[in-house]
Assembly symmetry: C2
Homo-oligomer: 237 residues x 2
C-alpha cells in the first residue's frame, strides 16, 4: 500500500503536485484508471481512481472518503530542546511520527546550543514519515520558543518533565491513571546538560510531573523517542 | 564525564590504543597526571591517572576498579532481520545500546533482502555507543543466521515474536509477570513485509509469545528500538 499527499482537493477531484505526480508515474508507474490512496495531512484518507495524467500533474477522482483515518483517542505533545546536529532532529521527527505523535514543539532552554530550526525541512520530513507509516494526519510542528514562554502558554496540568535533578522523579507508569484519564499529554525534554535549576524551579511552580526514563544516559533525541514510545504504550493499556 | 575503551589491561596499567589516545590528547587535551575513566567492554570500569603519553599511546595507572558497572538484573536479546539500508541497522544498534540491550542477533528470514551484515562496522558503532552512554559493557553482536537455525538454537521459553498475522497477539504489558519473573528476554523482529506463515508456524511450535507493538506501522529498525524501550520499561516497574 502507498499513500500520496495532496492539499489541492476540490469537489470530487484531487490534484497531485508535481513531486507526488512524478513519484506516482515515474517510480510506481501508475496508469490512468488505477486506484490510488491520497491523504490530506489533516486526518482524511481518500480512495479514488487516476483519471488524468498531464506533464506535471495527476488527477484523481474520489470514490470513498475516510475521515479521522487511524486517529487515536489521545494526544501526545513533545516539547524538546533542538540538538546541535540537525540530522538528529529530523531523525527524532521521523521516528516519533512513526510511533505516534500529534504535536512537536522546540524549546529554547538556557543550555540549548542551537537557537534556530529548519522548520520547512522538518515539515518535509514529517510529510514523508506520515505517508511512509500510512497515516493521514501530519503532526503540528511549532517553531522554536523560549522555555519560559512555552511553559507559561502551555499551562495545562498533565505535563511531564524529564530532568536529571535528584528529587522525587517517578517512572511514567506511576502516572498511568492520569494518562488514561486525560486526553492530552505533554512531555518536556531538555538539552544535553539538562534543564537548569531555574528551569526546574519554574517547572515545579507550574506543577509539572518530574519523571525519569530509566537509568540509561539517553541523548536528547533518544529521550524524545523513548518517551513517545512509552506514552503510546501506556495509552493503549 | 568521558569514557575511554581499552582491552589492553595488565596488572595496574592500562594502555590506550592509538585511536583512543588521539582522542584523549588531541581532542580532550588531557595531560599527564589527570584522571581518566576506562572501560573494558566486559562490564568493568577503571578509574586511574594518566601516567605517560607516547607518540601513539597513553598509559593509565589504575586507582579504583568497579566491576559489573551499571549492570542490570535482566537481559535483553533482540533478534532482528537486517534492513537493506545499512545505516539504519547501525542506527538501530546505536539506539538500542543507548536504551539498554545485552545481545543483538541478525536473522535471515524468507523475506529478508540483505543477506550479509558489516559486523566489524557494527562493533565500532557499538563501542562508540557504549562509551557515549557511559556503559562498561558492549552487547554481544552475533553474525547473521537463518531464522530456523536461530529459533532451534534459542529454544528458551521467554521469546516474543512481533508479527502482523491476525491472531491472538498481545501487548507486552500482558506478559509483565513473565517479564519480571525471568532474567532473559528475547524479541524477534521480522523484515519489511513480515515473517512468512511458515516462519510464524515454526514460532508457534516453539511456544513463542506473539506480540503487537501497537497499531502504527513501524519500520523494522523502529520496531527494534520500540520493543527495546518497552522491555526496559517493563523490567523496571
Amino acid at each position: 500500500m502507498e499513500f500520496f499527499y495532496s492539499d489541492d482537493i476540490h469537489d470530487d477531484v484531487i490534484k497531485l503536485n508535481t513531486h507526488e505526480s512524478k513519484h506516482c508515474i515515474r517510480v510506481l508507474r501508475k496508469k490512468e484508471g488505477e486506484s490510488l490512496n491520497v491523504v490530506d495531512g489533516k486526518g482524511t484518507l481518500y480512495q479514488g481512481n487516476l483519471i488524468s495524467i498531464t506533464k506535471k500533474n495527476c488527477y484523481v477522482r474520489i470514490d470513498k472518503i475516510f475521515e479521522n483515518y487511524s486517529c487515536r483517542d489521545y494526544y501526545i505533545h513533545i516539547a524538546i530542546s533542538p540538538i546541535k546536529n540537525h540530522d538528529r532532529i529530523e531523525w527524532f521527527v521521523e521516528k516519533s511520527i512513526e510511533i505516534g505523535v500529534d504535536e512537536i514543539s522546540f524549546i529554547r532552554c538556557e543550555r540549548t546550543l542551537r537557537k534556530k530550526i529548519k522548520l520547512e525541512r522538518l515539515h518535509r520530513t514529517a510529510l514523508s514519515a506520515m505517508k511512509q507509516t500510512l497515516k493521514a494526519k501530519i503532526p503540528i510542528i511549532n517553531d522554536i520558543i523560549d522555555f519560559d514562554d512555552f511553559v507559561n502558554v502551555n499551562n495545562k496540568s498533565n505535563i511531564f518533565i524529564c530532568h536529571l535533578e535528584n528529587e522525587n522523579r517517578k517512572n511514567l507508569f506511576h502516572y498511568r491513571k492520569e494518562i488514561s484519564d486525560n486526553y492530552k499529554h505533554c512531555i518536556l525534554i531538555g538539552p544535553e546538560g539538562d534543564f537548569t535549576s531555574n528551569e526546574i524551579k519554574l517547572s515545579k511552580k507550574m506543577n509539572h510531573h518530574p519523571i525519569t526514563l530509566g537509568t540509561s544516559r539517553l541523548r536528547t533525541e533518544t529521550a524524545g523517542v523513548v518517551s513517545c514510545s512509552i506514552l503510546n504504550f501506556l495509552n493503549t493499556l
